[in-house]
């Protein structure tokens, strides 16, 4: 159950968070010394600086007028969905670049998260139910994995399966990129297979480092649920163990795992960005990495804003969804 008061308060804090992100985004580039418009002219056109051209670029980058005017201008362009123009890919807009690369990241993140949750729920449920050896193995495994940096594991996999190990002179997986150069993007089988082969190593890296967290959480909630009175009652009235496990324990234990997905997502995004860099995977993370190396500030800012908005809003929606799915939860 959700009270209106709770809903309004949450929306208020969400608005403050987003506003803080936007303001940070506005202030940061203006604290950096140097004129970005001049930088574009120098790097892109390498010649005589034409004052009218400078003015044009300045107004395009929203750098004219007082700070306050710039801020209002910045906000109004954001409302219109305008994230500015990239320095490096000038005159391409930031939103068009993000839209071009976002699907690859969503594909990686979505698949990795989904598979990790499924594996985690299965292993966690088994381990919480059986305890003993499987429990020890799971805990040892997840403890040693929490210490492994995502990107280092990615590099190890890349070195092992795309460079060192060969079968009949062929590598098992490609070193980098999202699909081979010989296939044409579109709804055809060779393209699909190529995409899958290229996504395999990044996905395996992300899944191996992500699922133990979900498995441990599932295990712990299963153990808590097993102590509940209704499980005792189910046992007492002689229900089959499988029925108890499926309908009484797992169903109730899955809810906390579901909410943790949204929180874990923020962490997985960071991991996915680094993994994309390892495999030159053309998603938002690799784009951000390129933007960092080319000092493409508008692109860095645009990506930060999009990711922040997505995660903050997703968190909010999951909280609401949780209260809706579990009638015991009262948010007020």
């Amino acid at each position: 159950m959700i009270t209106l008061r709770y809903l309004l308060r949450r929306i208020f804090y969400m608005a403050i968070t987003l506003f803080a992100a936007i303001t940070l985004n506005f202030l940061l580039p203006r604290l950096v010394p140097g004129n970005p418009a001049l930088l574009i002219l120098l790097t892109k056109y390498r010649g005589i600086i034409n004052p009218s051209q400078l003015k044009l670029i300045e107004s395009e980058l929203n750098l004219r007028g007082t700070m306050w005017q710039q801020y209002v201008g910045y906000l109004s362009s954001l409302v219109h969905g305008n994230l500015g123009v990239s320095y490096y890919y000038y005159p391409q807009t930031v939103s068009s670049i993000i839209l071009e690369h976002l699907p690859w990241t969503l594909f990686l993140l979505g698949t990795a998260t989904l598979v990790s949750v499924i594996i985690g729920v299965f292993i966690g449920s088994y381990s919480g139910w059986k305890r003993g050896l499987s429990d020890t193995v799971l805990q040892g495994f997840s403890v040693s994995l929490t210490a492994v940096p995502y990107f280092w594991l990615g590099l190890i996999f890349q070195l092992a399966f795309a460079v060192i190990i060969t079968i009949n002179g062929y590598h098992i997986f490609p070193v980098a990129h999202a699909y081979g150069i010989s296939v044409t993007p579109g709804p055809n089988l060779p393209f699909f297979l190529s995409v899958m082969r290229h996504a395999a190593l990044p996905l395996i890296t992300l899944i191996i480092t992500t699922f133990p967290g979900f498995a441990l959480l599932m295990r712990n909630t299963v153990i808590t649920v097993l102590d509940e009175d209704y499980v005792l009652l189910a046992r007492a009235k002689g229900l089959q163990l499988n029925t108890i496990r499926k309908n009484y324990v797992n169903k109730n234990a899955i809810l906390p795992v579901a909410t943790s997905v949204a929180l874990a997502f923020a962490g997985i995004v960071g991991g996915a960005f680094l993994v994309e860099e390892v495999f030159s995977y053309p998603g938002i993370g690799f784009t951000l990495y390129n933007a960092v190396t080319t000092s493409d500030y508008p692109l860095i800012e645009g990506i930060f804003l999009i990711i922040t908005f997505t995660i903050v809003i997703a968190n909010f929606l999951v909280d609401i969804l949780y209260a809706y799915l579990d009638p015991r939860v009262i948010l007020k």
Binding site: Y13, I16, T17, A20, A21, L24, N25, L28, P29, L31, V32, V143, S144, T146, A147, V148, P149, F151, W152, L155, I156, Q158, L159, A162, V163, I164, V175, A266, G267, V269, G270, F273, L274, E277, V278, L288, Y289, V292, T293, S295, Y297, I300, E301, I303, F304, I307, T308, I311, V312, N315
Partner: protein, 300 residues
């Protein structure tokens, strides 16, 4: 005056021993637990490596004196990198920088986190509400993109990385400290101090923080290791001072200079193993702390 000293005496008896004695007995218990011993041993060896390792570096890590991409040999125990620098020396010197970065981040984050947590938990009311809302906002913003944007705009130095990571790492610990302060507040000896008319600040410094030391200690270790990993991640992303010799920049140059193409596993493995050992040591230690502080649940 006599009355207040009397209450002070009672307070001391209830608190049983000074804060250092309590911390020492906590350490003793930690050493009696095998997980605690293992964790402490791993972390201590890494700290010693970080402090004295550079003395054993056979070469200057940033001078090339051998062919590039050479696999391990007698003169270069871990081989050489893309311009013939000795990787074993990089690893030893890098350990010092990486752990120093981690420790500095932990110091900043612990200072802010403990201050915010104790103040929020002790004073409660509007102060608590205000501070915890700030924490909520900070916890929701995705960490890595925020780190990237801050590091991209600020000057690329190791100091920037330390300050940015330190300032972004405190919210979680402040929550832990706050909830612990809330329970401490209700203890009889704290109430006795309050009745004796001691100021809030004095109670915080003399009674509350000393009792939080085990908690602060274990969190500091985790913050330091989180700091090492985060710095490595940022460096790998091309942010911060890439000329600095540390485990993160080792991995950055491995990637940037096509270590993969040259199959230079000897360059990739050492920094990763270093970071993993840090994490494994900390996990052993935290499991031991968990067993000590919650004996009933830990032994299950």
């Amino acid at each position: 005056m006599t009355n207040s000293t009397h209450i002070n005496d009672v307070r001391k008896i209830i608190a049983s021993g000074g804060s250092m004695t309590r911390f020492r007995s906590f350490l003793k218990q930690l050493m009696r637990n095998w997980k605690g011993r293992t964790g402490a041993l791993i972390l201590l060896s890494l700290v010693l490596l970080a402090i004295f390792g550079y003395l054993f570096a056979p070469y200057n890590p940033v001078s090339s004196n051998a062919p590039s991409f050479q696999p391990p040999t007698h003169s270069h125990l871990l081989g050489t990198d893309y311009i013939g620098e000795d990787i074993f020396s990089w690893f030893l010197v890098g350990a010092g920088t990486s752990l120093l970065v981690g420790a500095s981040i932990a110091v900043i984050a612990i200072t802010i986190g403990v201050a915010v947590g104790v103040i929020a938990g002790y004073f409660g009311g509007y102060i608590d509400n205000g501070l915890m809302r700030v924490v909520d906002v900070l916890l929701v913003i995705p960490g890595f993109p925020l780190l990237v944007i801050l590091s991209a705009f600020l000057p690329p130095t190791l100091e920037t990385t330390i300050i940015v990571l330190g300032i972004l790492s405190w919210p979680f610990i402040s929550r832990v400290i706050r909830s612990q302060t809330l329970t401490l507040r209700r203890r009889p000896y704290i109430m006795a101090s309050e009745l004796s008319g001691l100021s809030g600040l004095r109670i915080i410094v003399r009674d509350i923080i000393p009792n939080l030391i085990p908690l602060i200690f274990i969190n500091a270790i985790f913050l330091a290791i989180g700091g090492v990993v985060a710095q490595a991640g940022l460096a790998f992303f091309g942010l911060g001072d890439l000329r600095s010799v540390n485990w993160g920049t080792m991995l950055y140059w491995f990637q940037a200079e096509d270590g993969i193409v040259y199959n230079a596993w000897w360059w990739l493995i050492p920094p990763g193993i270093g970071i993993i050992l840090l994490g494994v040591g900390a996990n052993f230690l935290s499991n031991a702390v968990y067993e000590i502080t919650q004996p009933a649940r830990g032994s299950k």
